[in-house]
């Protein structure tokens, strides 16, 4: 049986509703980078100027030491996807994070990819 994450209690909700939009300075859409729910992001460099970043962005850099989807980052931070996209957009713009677009937005699905997916599922 699958486990669900415990829902945040009401007291937490009151804080979390305001905070995400404060840290994005009211922006709800990233200005330049088009990120998908399954864009894969990874931290790009070690020389980060921590003083210029929000605590949430430092969290993102820690999480992204290994490649993660935008959806996973949002889930781990327990923040709305739209907010995480803005934070990631900043990090990408500053060269701290690299992103890769989802496969299927580049081209129709290649048979080799379908075969790889089939093999991957069969290995489970």
């Amino acid at each position: 049986m699958a486990e669900h994450q415990e829902p945040a209690n009401d007291a937490d909700d009151a804080d979390s509703l305001v905070r995400p939009y404060v840290i994005t300075q009211g922006r709800q859409h990233s200005d330049s980078v088009q990120l998908d729910l399954i864009s894969v992001v990874i931290a790009a460099r070690a020389d980060v100027d921590e003083m210029t970043l929000e605590p949430e962005q430092l969290r993102i850099l820690e999480l992204c030491l290994r490649p993660l989807s935008v959806a996973e980052v949002a889930a781990h931070l327990d923040m709305p996807v739209a907010v995480v996209k803005v934070l990631l957009g900043d990090l990408i713009g500053r060269g701290y994070v690299l992103a890769r677009a989802p496969y299927t937005q580049q081209s129709p699905v290649h048979r080799d990819v379908l075969q790889a997916v089939l093999d991957g599922i069969q290995r489970l």
């Binding site: 894969v40 709305p80 990408i92 677009a101 699905v109």
Partner: protein, 195 residues
Amino acid sequence: MASNDSDRSDDPIPSAIKILVAGGFGAGKTTLVGAVSEIVPLSTEEVMTEASVGVDDLAGVERKQTTTVALDFGRITITDELVLYLFGTPGQQRFWFMWEELAQGALGAVVLADTRRLDNCFPSVDFFERHGVPFVVAVNCFEDAHYYTEQEVTEALTLDERVPVLLCDARSRASAKEVLETLVRHVAATAATPV
């Protein structure tokens, strides 16, 4: 994309692909995702406001609306370069604005049917048919549920005969694997992609 000057530009970043698992409330979407996912299914929230809502369905609605939708998802690493994500998508019609984005680029979809409420998966079937997303129907066999044959489900949902229908146990990894394998084979059979 922003890859110059980085310390990691030589490391491959995997690209991701997704499969949707749709169905009515309680049909077992997250259970099926969890049966095959290498991570405990995660949940994320999309906050949608009027600006990002599709214009078609809400034309004439003047009020500014905010809706929060929870999405459960899991992950299967296929290769170093490819990761598969499985998204459980809420089946209710009022979430269709979000389906548009989710369906974009999806490899295919599993419509999880609950035989106790077979009509709950009509909206999912309808959506995928209209958007040309290849799908299979997996009938989650609850112990207390009425038993249908695959043929009966095909007729009840007025499915194209080519759409695979199979009975499954969403709790079982072997059964969930069979559902996904059937979907990928169906995608391969329907997509006329050149090799």
